[in-house]
Subunit: 339 residues, 2 copies
């Protein structure tokens, strides 16, 4: 039995999407047990209209609501009875709970996770690792993508080790090809951080390090893991998402500009639908926070039920594959900075 | 009369594309004078097959060839008779030459420009400012996008001032909306660099600073200038380019997967051609290096004649609008670090 906590408030489509995603996951995974965190009366009235196995769901009553503009530190301090903060507390204190999924504020989740949940042995800083679809039908993970805006070469090595083990154990990618995000392919490119990190990554024999990657090659399918500081990793992921969405939006509006285009598009309706699904990041699950002592998955703020379900599956697979102990084993082989 | 130097070797389609682009610009701009830098016999035999006004073109004989893998510093030191290095020397020494356009190695061009060509009064570091098309038919400049991987808040303010004046004077954008690339919109987002830069930019009354921009909004049309360190600016620009190209490539291959899609696409052939042109960065000219005492424009390595022509037009307009003195005037109002 694997017990996972779902923070049911905080996303654009919460709590409905979160509850429906949770119930879908429950149907899919027979030994899954769920705790839904949020306002009990609201959750109960939602559940009343759905059919599900009541013995596998409990509710953690958390009535407080987090506003959009609240600062992460204020959330932890002042919103102790919100669905997110209360869930983090339960995750910390209850040994039977393995993982947590949230679609709430990223900043608040990182702050709460870093201050309330421990790190894996040897890990200096946990890091986000979202997945993107590549052009040959695969996926690529970008680690870090926003949890740490300032990093050292040793941080980057740890991100590489964690993300590589994640791709190998959770997505069955053999010998993941790990690249360092840089402004050019040659080893001497970039600032001192990148040059030192390049050397460290090359020396790490547990990694299949394939060198620097230029950002224009992210979707090429030539890489399984891209290592970056949280600032440029964030730019990489959000620019890819943004450009794809803007381009599809432009295609759509251009199609409506002429009758003959509308006619052509009608013949291609299925294809356009497939493209949209292909670039819908919700289909690839959430952004996992690697390096915390318990599994935490952050779903998109705009997550619908399908995406929440995917996030729960991710958390489940991470727990099932014993990713944490595997990360600790490799990290233990390398000296690290004091923290 | 405005005299511009064209480095005719170094791009994927050089020297033909560079010569043809140069001749097209010559036809368009009546008071343009050109110096073509490169192997004289090769250039002469190319020119022999074209018609043009011979009185407005001279050749700077530079027979040495720069290899693909040569390090920028080696190029300056060892390839003194290459088309790029000889052109840079002429640009420095000949007062009648106003500007230079090159499609050669970016690294070598930056190194040569920074060591051989002076900076504008008060400028700490020159920076690249490429342009991208926005979804509402406008353009947005990203400064810096690769000349400086490590920067200070004062550098970022200077990039903002230079790029804002560039958009205003060369592209007639009134009161350009300037944003800071960051991982979130709120003022306190990002590292210390971003937080201090945010404050500096807010205090600079010559700027129409509109706050932080998240990378997914680059193409939204809500910004005219985006300020970034050279590392993340490079990631921003190249990811946008890469994603758009990969997506269009995917559409094309998917179209060929089914007969009915091919049929639909036939009706939409004009539209797809327009989309491709819209995202063809060659149509938006090159990446200008702002802050050097003479105008330098870097064209894409893959530039064809049309793109070279656009780069020459850009250089011409920069010189004509007296951008340099205007930048010096505003920069002079702000204290700056010693350099």
């Amino acid at each position: 039995m694997i017990k996972i906590l779902i923070d049911c408030f905080g996303g654009d489509h919460s709590p409905e999407a979160n509850v429906d995603g949770a119930l879908a996951a429950l149907e899919l995974l027979p030994d899954l047990q769920l705790v839904l965190s949020g306002d009990q009366p609201v959750l109960e009235s939602l559940l009343k209209t759905r059919s599900y196995d009541g013995s596998r769901i409990e509710i953690l009553h958390a009535p407080q609501v987090i506003g959009c503009d609240e600062r992460p530190t204020d959330v932890i301090r002042l919103k102790r009875d919100s669905s997110m903060v209360k869930a983090i507390r339960m995750l910390r204190d209850d040994d039977s709970v393995a993982a947590m999924v949230s679609t709430g504020s990223t900043g608040a989740l990182v702050a709460a996770a870093l201050t309330r949940i421990g790190r894996l042995e040897g890990i200096i800083r946990p890091a986000f690792c979202p997945l993107l679809p590549t052009m040959n039908g695969g996926i690529v993970g970008v680690c870090d993508s926003g949890a740490n805006v300032e990093v050292t070469p040793e941080h980057l090595r740890q991100f590489a080790i964690m993300a590589s083990l994640y791709m190998e154990n959770v997505y069955d990618v053999p010998k993941p090809r790990v690249a360092l995000l840089n402004v050019g392919k040659e080893a001497e490119k970039g600032d001192e951080l990148r040059q030192t990190a390049y050397k460290l990554l090359s020396e790490t024999k547990e990694l299949n390090f394939v060198g620097n990657m230029e950002s224009r090659d992210l979707l090429s399918g030539n890489y399984d893991v891209v290592v970056a500081d949280g600032f440029s990793g964030n730019v990489l992921v959000k620019t890819t998402e943004g450009t794809a969405l803007e381009l599809l939006k432009k295609l759509k509006s251009d199609i409506y500009s002429k009758m003959i285009y509308k006619l052509g598009a009608a013949l291609m309706a299925k294809m356009f639908k497939d493209e949209k699904e292909f670039f819908n990041y919700q289909n690839y699950g959430g952004s996992v926070l690697l390096g915390t002592s318990k599994v935490i998955v952050k779903g998109h703020g705009s997550s619908k039920a399908k995406s929440v379900q995917k996030c729960i599956e991710q958390a489940y697979k991470m727990q099932l594959s014993a990713l944490g102990p595997k990360i600790e084993e490799v990290i233990g082989k390398y000296e690290h900075y004091e923290y």
